[in-house]
Each structure stands twice: as structure tokens, then as C-alpha cells.
């Protein structure tokens, strides 16, 4: 067990916490907006910590750059799809509330 093994493992566990919180939020929160709020935490912070932990465990710069690229793309995609879903939900609520 080197220092990097412990650091990588700790980052992974920390990231896992965000995923668990995001999942619980998606299951428990009442509407689409609250659920999206919970999910973005998992997507951004959870994945960032997981990628960081994996990069530390992999121990090479080329792996780290690829993981950073993956995180960036997922963060971009999740922010965009979150925005699109929220917009759709907003329009759906407007339609429902109108008599």
C-alpha cells in the first residue's frame, strides 16, 4: 500500500458518496427539477472524484489526460441534457397548470 493507493482509494470512496447521494435524491425528491439537481451532483462531483481517483491509481499522465477528457465530455453532456430536460419539464408544467 503506497501513499498513492490510499489517496486513489479515498478519492473513489468520496466520489461514491456523491453517487449514492445523487441516487437517493433521484429516488426520493418529488419532481423533475429537484431530481435533476440531485443528479448533477453525482454527474459532476461524483464522476470528477472517481476519475481523479482512477487517474491517481493508474499513475500515468496519458491515462490522466484521457480520464479528464472523459469527465469534461460527460459534464458537458449532462449539463446540456439537464438543461433540455428541465426546459421540457417546465413546458409540461406550464401546460398542465393552464386551464
Amino acid at each position: 500500500m503506497t501513499f498513492f493507493d490510499i489517496l486513489g482509494g479515498a478519492l473513489l470512496v468520496l466520489g461514491l458518496g456523491f453517487f449514492v447521494a445523487g441516487t437517493v435524491g433521484m429516488l426520493r425528491f418529488p419532481d423533475a427539477f429537484c431530481r435533476l439537481h440531485a443528479l448533477t451532483k453525482a454527474d459532476n462531483l461524483g464522476l470528477a472524484l472517481t476519475a481523479l481517483g482512477t487517474a491517481v491509481l493508474a499513475g500515468t499522465w496519458s491515462a490522466a489526460v484521457k480520464l479528464a477528457l472523459i469527465w469534461g465530455l460527460v459534464a458537458l453532456a449532462s449539463a446540456t441534457s439537464g438543461h433540455l430536460i428541465a426546459g421540457h419539464a417546465l413546458r409540461a408544467t406550464d401546460r398542465r397548470d393552464r386551464p
Binding site: L69, L73, L76, A77, A79, T80, H83, L84, G87
Partner: protein, 320 residues
Amino acid sequence: MNAAWLAFDALLLAGILGVAWAAMAPGDAFRAIVMFMVMGLLVALAWVRLRAPDVALAEAAVGSGVTGALFLRTWHALPREAGRASEATAARPAAPRRLRLAAFGLAATLTGLLVAALASLDGTAPGLGDAVAARLAQSGVSNPVTAVLLNFRAYDTLLEVVVLLAAVVVVWSLDARPAPRPVPARGPIFLGFARLALPVTVLAAGYLLWLGAFAPGGAFQAGALLAAVGIVLLLGGLYRPGSGDRRRARLAFGLGLAGFAGAGALTLGLEGAMLRYPPAAAKTWILAIEAVLTLSIAATLAGLFLGERSAPARTGGERP
């Protein structure tokens, strides 16, 4: 460590079965489609665990991604009462009991036969792995999967390309009434995403194509990524096919088969056997064929997504 992997595999298997069950359960079609896509991702993970990253990439990109997009596209074209409102689906009368029993019997028999076949395998059969490894050096590439797909069994891949072409020909021949177009998802955030992500995706597709020679990757995975770019462009209304584009698209659909078959004919003349490449230049042949295939597969998958005639057939035009 072994126990941890065993627990992970058991969870994964249970997850796949659970999601598959949820996808088949009666109810909302949209829910079923989402469950199907989740199942594809879990199956991709299972392929990773079986140490088949090539299949995992293809499953995630084609099986889950592009197929999911095709399903969602179809769902959008469904009449409201057929696939959308769950109340309407619930109110639909169930199939007759005899039919359901027969379907159950058939499925149970097939499952039983599969389990019996699986149990009869002793797990020691060598398969063709050794034969491939022995001749890998002659194939021109160092990734055994690409060596099999594009060299040793290139004929099979050629026929797969025929299947794809047949699929898009059938879909484009269906004269369905035009479906309501999805609302273009335009807006500053979507456009910003498209500007950043699409060029990177094109780059990633090129990388996967090049990588296929020595690591997991190849024409189908790269083509699926490029098709995703096309699908995002179509969805966002960033690209609207004009009348001349359909003709160009048909050319692109046929390009893969034409290029592959052309290479077959050329090698028949040069080396005396179809798709036996000149040994010194095998890698160039494989990469050239894969590059053409990537473009054609991308066009075909995006064409499948675009689907039925987008404009009503004009009278007098386009007779075969």
C-alpha cells in the same frame, strides 16, 4: 479480491435481468425504451468483465446508443394512444390466454435448450484463439479482433455491411406518412454543447478507427460515433437535408459495400483470392477498407434515424 469480483458480477447479472424484466413489463413504451438503453450499458459492462472490450464498445455505441435513438425516434412517431399514455396501454385488452401460454412455452423451451447447451460445454474447448494468435503476425494488424473481422473472416464482415445496407434500403422505401418532427432543441446551451462536443466526437471517431489496428476499436465503433454526430445535428435542426442530399446519402449508403466489394475484386485479381491482401501492405488495405466503411456506416445509421421519406414523393420524379 476474487470474492469482491464475484459479488460485482452477481450484482451486474441481477441488474441486467432486472432491467430486462422492466423493459419487457407492460406499461409505458417510453419507460421500456429507457430500460432497454440502460440494459445495453449494463451488458457493455458485462462484456468488459468478459474481457471483450471490442464488443463492449460496439454494444455501448450501437446496441445502446444508436438503437436507443432509433427507438426514441419511433416512439415519437407513434400515435399518442399507441405508445404514450400509460392508461391507454393498460386499457388495451391483453392477448388471448392461449397465445400467451404458447409464447411462454416457446420461450421456456428455448431457454431450457440454451441452458442445456451451456451445461454440455466442458470449458476446455480451445476455440479458434490459438489459430488466430499463430497467424496474427501475417494479418497486418496486431489487434486480433480486427485481424479476424477484416482479414481472416473479412467475408463475414462484408455480408454484415450488406445487412446494414438492406436495412436502410427497407426503411427508406417505406412510404409512411411523415411523422411529426421533434421540436428542434436549439438554444444557446445546446448550440454551445454542439460546438464543443461535435468536433471532439469526430476526432474521437478518427482515433477509434486508427486504434482498431492495435487496440479495441474499429469501423463499427467509429461509425456509430460519427452517426451520433449526425443524429445530434438532425435533432437540433442544425442540418436539414435538402432534396439533393438524399441522393448523396444513398451514394454514401452504398459506398461501404462498393468499396469492400471493390477491394475484394481487386485482391481477387492481385492475389488470386477474394480479400487476401498483399502481405506487405495488409495494414494499408485494412485501414483503407475500414475508413470507407466508417463513413458508410455513419451515413447508414444516421439515415436509419432520419427514417421515412422526409418529403412526400413528388409525382413523376425518382422512378427506378
